[in-house]
Symmetry: C2
Subunit: 143 residues, 2 copies
């Protein structure tokens, strides 16, 4: 099996052929980057197993696999903040995926549009830079 995804892909892969060629880790997971299709903002980084990718493609709603809870979940199943899948983009070694999505409200359980709400740069240092889009206490009953 080649190191690069293209070496493992059939000539005209269908979705199952693509999933066959991925480089899952020891737990059967790949890394997923959810990106806002409207403006390119990275919303969250999570993981998916083959079943989560299959369900995402079949339903058009992003599914992930939680490493801490050891279970499959549909994004927004609790909060209603679902992600509609527009396209998947696989990387050269086949262990990571960018999902272009339409995000309802916000991706972060703390109420931010993106989970990447904590910014640092060489000139300005640290700043809390997240855009709050909902009140997490009304959605999840926690601060």
């Amino acid at each position: 099996m080649g190191r690069d995804l293209v070496e493992r892909l059939p000539e005209r892969p269908d979705f199952a052929g693509l999933l066959d060629a991925l480089a899952y880790d020891a737990d059967g997971l790949v890394t997923v980057v959810a990106q806002d299709a409207a403006n390119g903002e990275v919303l969250m980084v999570a993981h998916a197993n083959r079943e989560a990718l299959e369900l995402s493609a079949a339903t058009g709603q992003m599914h992930y696999y939680s490493r801490s809870r050891k279970k499959l979940w549909r994004k927004g199943e609790e909060s209603g903040h679902t992600q509609r899948l527009l396209s998947l983009h696989f990387d050269c070694d086949g262990d990571a995926v960018v999902a272009q999505v339409e995000q309802v409200a916000g991706a972060c359980h703390l109420g931010y549009r993106s989970c990447f709400a904590y910014r640092w740069d060489p000139a300005g240092g640290y700043v809390q830079a997240g855009r709050k889009v909902f009140d997490p206490q009304t959605k999840y009953g926690r601060a």
Copy 2:
């Protein structure tokens, strides 16, 4: 130690304080998403340990930790396709970082601007969608 990064951050964190608060995995790593600061394109997903983040911040050039080679590396040290760091964005649980970068030539060792060159969507299926920006044979001596 709280589950959320903000619960572990000091009130006005410097860079060391930020790095102290991250949720490194068992190998001391966090996931890094390198994003083209000019157009938001996700260029690659890799990993960094604390030292790689420190070196990235200190030199302004992205450094990573290779899980397969078990060593620190500077992006572009072989190819010249370096990444200048503009800002880092940490996520809510502190185990992933988005790095906004200026990418020289292309991020992918296969000659593409982005490693995420293999696209699938529900309507169109699979298409090789990468933008070739250099000839990998002249850069790395491989096809």
